[in-house]
Structures are given as C-alpha cells and as structure tokens.
C-alpha cells in the first residue's frame, strides 16, 4: 500500500512543526484524563484501550462524567454520538482534500481525524495540496501523544496536580483562536460566521448545557453564511 509520496521528508517535517503546540497542550489534558479515569474505577489498561480506540478527548471526558458501575452503556453512547457529531461536518469539509489518498489511506485517515489535526489540515489545504506525508505525520503523532499521556496519567494517578493552575486548559483555546483567525483571514463574511457560532454556542451552553453547544454552534456558522450569501456571488 502506498500512503506516502515524495518529497515526504519535508512534508513530514512541516507536519511536526505545525502539530507541536497541540502536542504540548495535549500533555496535561492526557495526564488529567488518565488520572480522573483511574479515580473513576478504570484500570490503566482500560484507559490505554479507550484513548487509542476512541481517540476523542471531549467524548472521553464526558464519559467519565457518566462513569459508574454498572456502566450506563446507552447513555455513554448517546453522549459520545452527540459530542462527536461535529466530525460529520468536519469529515465532509475535509473529504475533497483527501481525495488523492488511497481508499485504505482515507479509511485510516478519517479515523485519525481530531479537532487539532483536522484544523491544521484545513489550513494547509487552503494554500497547497494536502499530502499523505503531512496529514499522516501530523495525525499519527497527535494520536500517539494522546495515548501516551493518558496512559501515563492513569499510571501516575492522583499524584498529579491540577493542570488549570498552569493555564494548560487555555492552551487549547489559544490554539483554536489562532486557527480560527488563520482560516478566516481574507474570507467573506468571516466575522458574521464566527459571531453567529460563538453567540449560539455560548447561549446554548448556558441555557441547555453541554454538549449541545458544540453541534448547535457548528450549525449556526454555516446557517449565517447561507443567509449572508448574495445571489451571483462566487
């Protein structure tokens, strides 16, 4: 199978440089997830399996909120589906940019799609074709980083301190703000789209609660873009 084409090495290097801030931000989040999961009764092996197979931080943290024995499997699955429903929009948006990958490359590639590596792939695709070397370099390293730190967090357990003290929780917010600005620059209606998503997500989060804000905010932006669109515009 050929997942990778030349000149792969420089593409891979670019991928590592671009994903590095997300790797750093993922470290305290992974440690925290592992430590909390063990406190909820999971074993380190179960944490390792969940992080490597599910690989979705938001859904995994939400699962910990529901985690009690006997396990409420239906509630866990509904929560997971709701939080991860944004992947459907993300995958649809990324699909044309991965069209040159092989079938196997796409089946694995979309399986590794997470907020951070997806956003970097979108930004990359905005100014040049997305290569397999870049996409997989970024996605596999980001996946391994999450698995590693959450497993270590499970092994170290509650000896770890609160990551919020170091502003670690805000590192992801800052990364996303940087990517939103990069994706929006020079585009029509960007302000309206971001404002509609932000207002809807904040309102829904306050009134209804998590995780409904993710899907509603993700749909409000495209709705605003459609409303603001004028006939005859490209």
């Amino acid at each position: 199978m050929t997942l990778v084409h030349a000149p792969t090495r420089s593409e891979f290097r670019d991928a590592l440089i671009d994903i590095a801030p997300a790797l750093l931000a993922g470290m305290p989040m992974g440690l925290l997830f592992g430590a909390l999961a063990v406190a909820q009764g999971m074993s380190p092996l179960e944490v390792l399996l969940m992080s490597s197979l599910v690989f979705a931080g938001g859904a995994q943290f939400a699962a910990l909120g529901l985690w009690q024995y006997p396990l409420p499997i239906a509630a866990l699955l509904v929560s997971t589906a709701l939080i991860n429903a944004r992947h459907i929009l993300m995958g649809a948006s990324l699909a044309p940019k991965l069209r040159r990958f092989t079938i196997l490359g796409r089946l694995i590639g979309f399986g590794l799609m997470a907020d951070e590596n997806w956003a970097l792939a979108e930004r990359r695709a905005a100014d040049r074709p997305l290569s397999a070397g870049y996409y997989f370099g970024m996605a596999v390293v980001f996946w391994a980083n999450w698995v590693l730190w959450s497993f270590l967090g499970a092994c170290l357990g509650p000896t770890l301190g609160d990551p919020d003290r170091f502003g670690a929780d805000f590192a992801f917010v800052a990364i996303f703000i940087g990517l939103i600005v990069a994706l929006s620059r020079g585009r029509r209606r960007s302000f309206g789209i971001v404002a509609a998503s932000a207002a809807t997500a904040a309102l829904v989060h306050s009134v209804i609660g998590s995780p409904w804000h993710v899907l509603s905010g993700a749909l409000a932006g495209p709705a605003a873009a459609a409303l603001l669109h004028r006939a005859g515009e490209k």
Binding site: M42, A81, N84, L94, G167, V173, F176, I180, A196, G221
Partner: protein, 101 residues
Amino acid sequence: MGLDRTTLLAILLMALVTYATRISGPFLADRFRLEGRGKAAFDAIPAAVLTALIAPAVLTTGPAEAIAGAITILAAFRLPLYGTVAVGVAAIVLLRALFAA
C-alpha cells in the same frame, strides 16, 4: 492490570460510534455538489466548529477568560501560532491570579 468485559464492550461501542461520525462525512460529501448558498455554508464549517468548541470557555466562564480571550485574538492577528499560544497562556495565568486576589 484488569480488563473488565463490560468495560471493554463499552469502549468498543464508543469507538464504533466515534468512527461512524468520522467516516460518514466523506460519504455524504461525495453525494452532493454544492454551489452558491450551499457552498458558502459548507465553506463556513471549519471556523464554525472551532468557534463552537471554545465559545463557552471564553464567553461564559468569567472575566479572566473573557479578557485573556480578547488578548489572544489580538495576538492571533499579529503572531504565528506559537506566539499566540504563549501570549494566551501567559495572559490567563496572570489574569486568574489577578481576579483570585
């Protein structure tokens, strides 16, 4: 290291649901050709998803988060991603200390 059978089942089902959300987007995208209004909506997805994920943390948590968010947005217009993250994290640590005092 234990591995409980029900826990394993829960993990596998969560993984299956998550993979389904990741792989269904491309199948939907291949069915439709978008133009005009639909394409404008489609192109808005990346910024909208990222905004929805962080909006409550910035807008409804407290003054420290709101001010640090504004500072980070300003930084993002002038600095590369690394600089933006450094400014954002420094701002939140200082502001939280300030508002906690």
